[in-house]
Amino acid sequence: MQWSSSQQQGCVVASPDGRVDEATAEAFTEHLASSVALAAESPGKKLIVDFGGLDYMSSRGLRALTLAKRQADAAGVAMTLARPNEVMREILAISRYDKLFSVTDTIEAAI
């Protein structure tokens, strides 16, 4: 999968692109871990996972988010999910992950 990362106002914005499924879950997990580490060093101590480029995420990806959040909590990093598309909104609701994570419509709202 494609992955890009930027810093905005002291926060790390991580932007995966494509699908997170069995084939890409491992790479997704590794990128998330790196992003959390980066965010721990950033002034804002915040990681925003930009879902704007994500088509879909299976339970492997959702659980990888939980693992990343544990790492983030231990490092004092706040984690937010931003810009889910309609499919991802439904998946977050059905899985009740919208109760575990802060979800925003825009990156600005997450910052």
Partner: protein, 324 residues
Amino acid sequence: MLVRFWGTRGSLPVAATAAIVQEKVAAALLAASGRSFADIDEARSFARAELDFATSGTFGGATTCVEIEAGDPANGDPYIICDMGSGLRGFGLDAMRRCGQGHARVYHFFMSHLHWDHIMGFPFFVPAFDPNAHIIIHAGHADAEEALRRQQEEISFPVKFEWLRAKIEFRTLKAGETYQIGAVQVELMEQHHSHSSFGYRFTDAEGKVVVFSTDSEHKMDRMEGEADVEQFFREADLVICDTMYSLADSVSMKEDWGHSSNIVAIDLCHGGHAKRLALFHHEPVYSDADIARMHAESVRYEELTREHDPLEVLCAYDGLEVAL
């Protein structure tokens, strides 16, 4: 092959209260406003065709017990039952009726594990008092006999295990082996649960496959092991899966409680190219409306995430029969 669900709840049996039934009746009356029915059959037809299941019926409250009808009773093929939850009582009474019609009095049980909700029905299993019955209890656990005898010690139950009249045997099965038992080939797989649990894969002579996988937690730190689970579920005609909690609950508040979610079950069935999934081992605090909502959400999640052939998502209830 026919799969018949006698008990579909997890943890503890539950029963509808007067208040719950009154709510269903009120909802049904409202839905029928302005209608009149010539007789009880018309009213029944209306209830079946026009009311949602949570109003007209119930998912039930008995704990885990699933019967697999395979082979031909006329040829003497035995009963096959997964687990001995409180639903076993209903099966036992029905089995006595069928034995009266000539069914062989041979019962092969396959135990996922030995927690109370999965063994609590055995003291009420009427065929165990039949001196002509032969009961074979298969388990991946070597201590299955200890668990069953213990729950019938006098401190817990007034009828001792030793007083049961049937011929009762215990057989320990090994994961990874294939066994021919009755009219099915049986394989088992160890699962993650307190004191371990086992899933079973049953294949009949026509190649129909049903997988019984309950009380299985799919841990976040072992996700790479799920390829083995998908292999176990491969191309099954029906997978019966523990879907007790939401994914969020299963990774937070209910982590290490030994159960799974509808989301993971669907993903595993998709990965294994299974044809049908039965949501199972329902949380006892869930109302019928809660379970129906979970079912609808599961159907939608399957639609959203489907890459190949559709996976039919059923919601198990006490009394459901699935012909494969």
